[in-house]
């Protein structure tokens, strides 16, 4: 009984402590590291958007880069039209969400391996179109974001605050009845249909929410780097979101952030030493993960916690 109550309590405190610690980090760290941590958080947010679609609703989408790019380009054009930043971020999130309804409605018609492939080809198509229409996107050369920069530290707190709000919202959402419906579709779509749930509607909703968050991540990334190009649409971003989520633990809120932070840090660390080795390391890591630890880092800890709980009960 004790253990059952203590564990969530402990988890809550630990999460609070880590989140709080990250919040005060920029007061002590150098500029380079503040930017690095900002980047980690944005990638974590981006991975979270994928996780909502894959980890909670069971759709292996490689289309997240579409929304990442759309969000970034809406930021560029919003800034040109003189929209204030909060308004701009809100509108680009909305736009990505609306696009998500459209794309989602199209892609949920196919399942399994075909779903993966169709979303991937969709992402490739968007990238090619962005490359081909320089008047609209600037192609490879891209555009400078014409919004006033807040400064490194303030930008960090903007990203941190937005991600905290989104993260908490998602954490609440997946524990709500809606999240339960998502997970039911993930685990057994036929049963959900038989119980009378409008599974297509829920899937589109999940896809669109994921798209909106990916768009927000794209907007934040564009704002942070001050530069947006067609490369934002490249499907390798989708692939990264997949890898980060699987490493951290799919179907958890903390997992994508942990995975993104670890691999971003690893990439930075390896670039200094032997950057060319990074893709090989990630490739091997992915194979080992899939075979040996499909539930990811957070899932592994959850497993350990469950075992601890079990042993407590046995002693009684």
């Amino acid at each position: 009984m004790m253990a059952e109550r203590l564990l969530p309590c402990f988890k809550g405190f630990a999460t609070l402590a880590i989140v709080g610690l990250i919040g005060v980090l920029p007061l002590f760290m150098g500029r380079f590291y503040v930017v690095l941590v900002t980047e980690m958080i944005i990638w974590g947010l981006f991975a979270l958007s994928f996780n909502l679609i894959y980890g909670y609703t069971g759709m292996l989408s490689f289309g997240q880069s579409i929304f990442f790019g759309i969000g970034a380009y809406f930021l560029v054009y919003g800034a040109r039209w003189g929209l204030p930043l909060p308004m701009n971020l809100f509108l680009l999130t909305l736009a990505a969400g609306i696009l998500g309804v459209g794309v989602g409605t199209a892609v949920i018609r196919v399942r399994g391996a075909k779903f993966f492939l169709v979303t991937l080809v969709g992402a490739i198509l968007f990238h090619l179109i962005a490359l081909d229409n320089r008047w609209l996107t600037g192609g490879d050369d891209g555009f400078i974001v014409s919004a006033a920069y807040l400064g490194i530290r303030n930008n960090f707190y903007l990203v941190y605050g937005v991600s905290l709000v989104v993260g908490l919202t998602i954490a609440g959402l997946v524990r709500s009845r809606l999240g339960l419906a998502f997970r039911m579709i993930r685990d057994d779509q036929k049963r959900a249909e038989l119980l009378g749930y409008w599974t297509d509607g829920f899937k589109v909703l999940s896809f669109s929410l994921g798209g909106a968050i990916a768009g927000l991540a794209g907007g934040l990334y564009g704002y942070t780097s001050g530069f947006v190009s067609a490369d934002y649409f490249h499907w390798s971003h989708s692939a990264n979101a997949v890898i980060w989520t699987v490493l951290g633990g799919s179907g958890t809120v903390a997992g994508p952030f942990i995975g993104a932070a670890l691999l971003t840090w690893l990439r930075e660390g390896l670039s200094a030493l032997w950057g060319k080795v990074y893709p090989v390391v990630v490739g091997i890591l992915l194979i080992v993960l899939v075979v040996g630890l499909p539930e990811g880092i957070v899932g592994m800890f959850q497993g350990v916690a469950e075992k601890l709980k079990g042993s407590f009960f046995e002693e009684r």
């Binding site: 399994g112 492939l117 090619l128 893709p279 490739g283 890591l285 194979i287 993960l289 499909p294």
Partner: protein
């Protein structure tokens, strides 16, 4: 080059590339279409085949042995990969992720070993002929012929031999296959190896026709998957037809618009077929 010359040229080139694409996708057709393993790394075996062919012919000074050595090497590597991923191969999502890891690993390793500068290999046959004034290499014609010959022997292997029968049986009915004594696990491994050796062979064949880079695998794998899906999983000739259709349409479009635009339209068309395909075919059947 006038339009009169460009259209037949585009047509011939599209047909040649279609035959090659058909050969690559025939490998994936065995792995994905027959065995149901979503091998995202298929394009990387093709890339590896091209690099190995370049490496071998540079060392031996002669190209042709590569066509024998490369499929053996990529086939063996395929056996290893399938063995490593055996625990997850029935789970689509995990297979996608695992083979995606293989793709990253192979691409990264090629970049590490051979570097990112594009490699070029002189065609082993420099003779050519003229298509309405435009030169065309005989080697490409030979590649198309070899591709079709191999496709024919693959068809024979799948439809007329015991091995092919077992290969088709394990997906159709795994329980029954085990019951009648088909070594299912071994068949999966061998089928995967057959598929990757075909991918490697295609890579070796085209090595003298393209600039060889570590990215060439990533660039082709989505196309190969589309071709296999459009052709209908497990149907060899349909996927070959789809491959030829894809290449010819793309080749002919390139005459009128820029290559990126041509690729966009071709992708969009194929995507449309994937979405509407089942309904389209059903309405055609009545």
């Amino acid at each position: 080059m006038g339009l009169i010359a460009q259209v037949p040229f585009g047509l011939i080139n599209g047909l040649v590339w279609g035959a090659v694409l058909g050969l690559i996708s025939s490998g994936l057709n065995v792995i994905f279409g027959l065995l149901g393993i979503v091998n995202v790394a298929h394009g990387s075996f093709y890339m590896l085949g091209a690099f190995l062919a370049w490496f071998i012919s540079n060392h031996l000074g002669i190209f042709w042995p590569a066509l024998l050595i490369v499929p053996l090497a990529t086939g063996l590597l395929g056996l290893v990969v399938e063995f490593a991923l055996k625990p997850v191969e029935r789970n689509t999502t995990l297979t996608v992720l695992g083979t995606f890891g293989v793709m990253l690993g192979l691409q990264g390793a090629s970049l590490l070993i051979w570097g990112g500068t594009p490699k070029r290999l002189a065609p082993p046959l420099s003779a050519g002929f003229s298509v309405f004034g435009a030169g065309y290499s005989w080697y490409r014609i030979i590649v198309a012929v070899i591709s079709i010959l191999i496709l024919l022997s693959l068809w024979y292997c799948l439809e007329r031999t015991k091995f092919g029968l077992k290969l088709r049986a394990v997906k159709e009915n795994p329980e029954l296959s085990v019951a009648v004594g088909v070594p299912v696990t071994l068949i999966y491994t061998l089928g995967f190896g057959l598929g990757t050796s075909l991918a490697g062979l295609s890579g070796a064949l085209v090595a003298p026709m393209v600039s060889i880079t570590p990215e060439m695998g990533v660039r082709i794998f989505a196309i190969v998957f589309l071709v296999v899906i459009v052709g209908g999983l497990g149907r060899l000739w349909n996927s070959v037809l789809a491959a030829i259709g894809f290449s010819v349409i793309r080749g002919l479009l390139t005459i009128f618009i820029d290559p990126t635009g041509a690729l966009i339209i071709t992708f969009a068309l194929v995507l449309g077929v994937v979405f509407l395909g089942p309904r389209l075919f059903r309405s055609l059947e009545g």
